[in-house]
Symmetry: none
DNA sequence: AGAAATTTGTCCGTATGTATC
DNA sequence: AGATACATACGGACAAATTTC
């Protein structure tokens, strides 16, 4: 069989289809996706293509895959406006180390405001973001 | 050929090697990586495995791939949209201090990927943002 | 507790499509 | 137009983690 992929690659089309099933509720949040074997049968695509489609969902934060277990639809992904239960936000005053001091052009030990946001997904820390600003600095 | 991957998968080992070449300067920032074909020959791995290794570098923000062109090592300086020049983005591998180690549930000293964005406005550093993620090296 | 079945992870080789040089 | 380089897709094989019996 040739491999004609005009506009949309096969794996993206499959990813879209799966995404739609998730958003429509056909596949409930927190549930397992069909196995790779089942999806290869349904879409009559190779396993590699199916895995690529699932990788798209993972990259978009919609699913999480576990070895030997399967791929879950992430329970609480979208629509987390303010007060996300899974994010932790901390604001504290800290002091500049050598590197930060050099960047800001201040003395090491001088005060800075540190803003830290910890993002978790399924209990695991996914990313830690820290912003540093000078004290009493007004936005423009 | 069998597939003996004891501790570390082949594609991760290759990714580490490439990462090291980048950090050591053997492959300069902004330069093109060797082509997939060249890497296939050098590491005697299949093209799929090479592409998996390069994907790791992309996920860590170290490289960018362009169809038909090649894979670039991301340079320190990133493009700025119109208006606000003078942003500087740095990606480096660092080690977890006590606090970060506790957050991620890893050992202090374990490697992390740090993205740092320094925003200046008329020569003055306005804000420093640092994000920390697990290296694509350790699975868990 | 142990063995088998299930499911995802890694790797190979090949072929063809598409973008860039 | 031709050569080069990345993108997509197939099929097969074995490894490793989990679940089931």
């Amino acid at each position: 069989m040739p491999t004609p992929h005009f506009g949309q690659p096969r794996y993206r089309a499959i990813a879209s289809e799966l995404r739609q099933r998730i958003e429509s509720g056909a596949i409930p949040l927190g549930a397992l996706l069909p196995t790779e074997g089942a999806l290869t049968a349904e879409f009559r695509a190779s396993r590699g293509t199916i895995r690529q489609a699932i990788a798209v969902l993972r990259e978009d934060g919609l699913a999480t895959t576990e070895h030997g277990r399967g791929t879950y639809v992430n329970a609480h992904t979208r629509f987390h406006r303010s007060g996300t239960p899974d994010d932790l936000e901390t604001i504290r005053e800290t002091v500049a180390d050598e590197k930060l001091a050099a960047l800001f052009g201040i003395e090491p030990g001088a005060p800075l405001v540190e803003h830290e946001i910890v993002t978790r997904r399924s209990g695991e820390v996914k990313v830690v973001v820290r912003t540093y600003r000078l004290l009493n600095q007004q936005q423009r």
